[in-house]
């Protein structure tokens, strides 16, 4: 018998109410996160990455959102828990790092109090112990002069420092799962690298599993063990990081990879994926959802009801269209070696 995975996402569907009807932003997603594993979740804006992350934390407002399926965390279905039961897991077992450090902190509370707040509910510690631990945490996330910063308010810190505080909050109780939703998007490029470095280091020390949501494929290559590529609410390809980068199959994955400038292979033209992710209520609900954006591939190449299939051990792809996919001639990326030409 194999070890129980940390988190099993089973047939998760997250639907939002728009003008009276529910539309799924996450549609039948299944994904397993093992212990001490970093899984990257990539995909364009609007494909449902945040919706997925928030549903694990139970942060969707219940009135306007429907979350279906199962989220088995260490064997417990998070979706069947009451808010107060969930509160024993949030912050303690699962920590979340938000995208925008400028808005993620309460402007009226000192940094120290905000970090201690999560310990208040999960660890019974005497006050001075708590403070010591908080200052150690601040030190650990690379904040200089932690004793001083402890008494600071968020507005007195820079964006990068605030994001370090957000990370300190997330790891305050040493959770076994961290969810990082684009943790560096709101930061300067140089700071981005520092924050990713910090996350990597923390992961190594704490052996925490991480669900890392990002647009930055460079970060994925550096940090992730496995990658789930999402398109329009569905996982279209799932594999370990090497496979994704060296043997991508799904047209969407290949398009994403073609659209990033890469240091090794200089391209004279980058591939631009045609069109945009359609808004929720206009998503195609039948057939291959990516079909409209690769219109030069014949309709007969797509499955009618595309399934995620394991094409080699641990490598999953949705729809058969990948077998016939090629970039359109007019957009074909001619790879030019600048050194030779």
């Amino acid at each position: 018998m194999s070890k129980q995975p940390l988190l099993e996402i089973e047939r998760l569907r997250v639907s939002f109410q728009i003008e009276g009807a529910y539309y799924a932003a996450v549609d039948d997603v299944s994904l397993v996160i093992e212990e001490n594993e970093v899984v990257a979740l990539v995909g364009e804006s609007g494909c449902g990455k945040s919706a997925l992350a928030l549903s694990i934390m139970g942060l969707h407002p219940p009135e306007k959102t429907k979350v279906e399926g199962r989220l088995l965390f260490k064997g417990t279905n998070l979706l069947s828990l009451s808010v107060s039961e969930l509160n024993r897991i949030r912050g303690k077992e699962i920590g979340m790092i938000f995208q925008d450090p400028l808005t993620a902190l309460n402007p009226l509370m000192t940094v120290g109090r905000q970090i201690e707040e999560s310990m208040n509910y999960h660890l019974r510690l005497p006050a001075e112990e708590k403070k010591k631990r908080t200052i150690r945490l601040l030190e650990r996330v690379g904040i200089p002069e932690p004793e001083k910063v402890y008494h600071r308010y968020p507005h007195e810190l820079s964006g990068g420092m605030r994001q370090r505080v957000v990370i300190a909050i997330a790891i305050a109780c040493e959770p076994s799962l961290l969810i990082a939703d684009e943790p560096t998007t709101a930061l300067d490029v140089t700071i981005q690298a520092q924050i990713m470095e910090l996350l990597k280091e923390l992961q190594r020390q704490m052996k925490t599993s991480i669900i890392l949501i990002t647009h930055d494929l460079g970060v994925v290559a550096e940090m992730a063990d496995r990658v789930a590529v999402m398109y329009a609410g569905e996982i279209v390809e799932l594999a370990d990081v090497d496979t994704i980068f060296h043997r991508p199959l799904h047209p969407y994955t290949r398009s994403l990879l073609q659209s990033i400038p890469s240091a090794q292979v200089k391209k004279d033209r980058l591939h631009v994926i045609q069109g945009i992710v359609p808004p929720l209520h206009k998503l195609p609900r039948r057939g291959c959802r990516f079909q409209p954006r690769i219109s030069w591939i014949g309709a007969e190449q797509h499955e009618l009801e595309p399934q995620l299939r394991e094409v080699e051990p641990g490598h999953w792809v949705r729809c058969t269209c990948y077998r016939h996919f090629h970039f359109p001639d007019d957009q074909m990326t001619r790879e030019v070696d600048y050194g030779a030409s």
């Binding site: 928030l54 934390m57 139970g58 942060l59 407002p61 808010v83 107060s84 969930l86 509160n87 024993r88 897991i89 949030r90 912050g91 303690k92 920590g95 979340m96 938000f98 925008d100 808005t103 993620a104 902190l105 309460n106 402007p107 009226l108 509370m109 905000q114 707040e117 999560s118 509910y121 999960h122 308010y153 507005h155 957000v166 909050i169 997330a170 305050a172």
Partner: protein
């Protein structure tokens, strides 16, 4: 903080100067002068004597000399003479200012006592029947002018049901300082204070409601939930504290509104305060009283604004000033 307050008070000096010049010029521009009223009270006065009195009072001096004298007197607490009451304006005001302060304070306290729970219920449980009732009340409150509402309250609870006295600030029979005296004062205060508060409060209810609705979807609330903070604490520590900020800052500005409100309320309830005096003095052209009252309300408004700024900087760390 102290430096900030001192600086703000310094800024108030030119504001006060401008205000006083404006009021002085307006008073001058009005037909007649301090003696016209006396003349009206005593039409048989000899023009010769009148001219002598003008000379004696300095009313024939150049305008700036008059202004300086006016300010100097004012600073020494001499606000002139009220001809209708035949007593110094300062004494006249001193007898009434307590009532107005009491009424305003009562309105202010009631306003917030009503607004805070209703605003919280409405903002937290949006779109429930309770919320709809509260929103309905606040629309009605917005649409109803204060003086009409006060008249209705007076008619219903004062005359028709007879629950409350319909005028004055205290029974004349009761002896000052006794318990009965204070109870009577409270009894006289209830109706005008409630009328003022019930109308006054709707603005704050609406403001608080929309603040809470805005705040509860903020990112830092998500962060707090992600920490596993219980729902009660989410509201108290995170949502409500942040929503109260602008409400607290209103406190000072409310003073301006109270001044305007007291004119109607005191007149309708024959409540002997500054507002009632103001309206009476305008009708009787008692200029020295009117200018004094305008000056006082101007000062009160400036102080209220200062108060708001101080409150805001005290409760919001982002506006803390060295």
């Amino acid at each position: 903080m102290l430096k900030f307050i001192l600086r703000r008070i310094l800024i108030m000096i030119p504001q006060l100067f401008l205000l006083s010049v404006l009021i002085f010029l307006l008073a001058k521009a009005m037909p007649g002068d301090a003696l016209t009223g006396q003349l009206a009270a005593n039409p048989k006065m000899d023009p010769q004597t009148l001219e002598e009195m003008r000379e004696k009072l300095g009313l024939n001096d150049p305008v700036h000399i008059q202004y300086i004298r006016w300010v100097k007197n004012m600073l020494q607490g001499d606000l002139g003479l009220s001809y209708t009451h035949q007593q110094p304006v300062t004494d006249l005001l001193a007898g009434r200012v307590g009532n107005t302060v009491l009424l305003s304070a009562a309105i202010l306290v009631l306003t917030y006592l009503i607004a805070i729970p209703l605003g919280i219920v409405s903002g937290r449980w949006t779109d429930t029947w309770a919320d709809k009732l509260i929103v309905g009340y606040s629309y009605i409150g917005y649409a109803t002018p204060l003086f009409i509402f006060a008249l209705i309250m007076l008619f219903v609870f004062g005359f028709h049901l007879g629950w409350f006295p319909t005028g004055g600030s205290v029974d004349i029979q009761v002896e000052e300082g006794t318990l009965a005296y204070y109870l009577s004062k409270l009894n006289h205060l209830m109706l005008p204070a409630l009328s003022g508060a019930l109308i006054n409060t709707v603005g704050i209810i609406q403001y608080l409601r929309s603040e809470i609705i805005d705040t509860k979807v903020k990112d830092f609330v998500k962060t707090a939930r992600a920490k596993g903070v219980p729902e009660r604490q989410i509201y108290w520590r995170h949502i409500l504290r942040n929503s109260f900020l602008p409400i607290a800052a209103f406190l000072g500005y409310e003073i301006t509104g109270l001044i305007g409100g007291s004119v109607f309320l005191e007149s309708i309830y024959s409540y002997p305060g500054l507002g009632q005096l103001f309206l009476q003095s305008i009708m009787q052209r008692d200029y020295s009283v009117v200018t004094a009252l305008v000056m006082i309300s101007g000062v009160a408004t400036l102080v209220g604004t200062l108060l708001s700024d101080i409150i805001l900087s005290a409760v919001d760390p982002r506006i803390r000033i060295e």
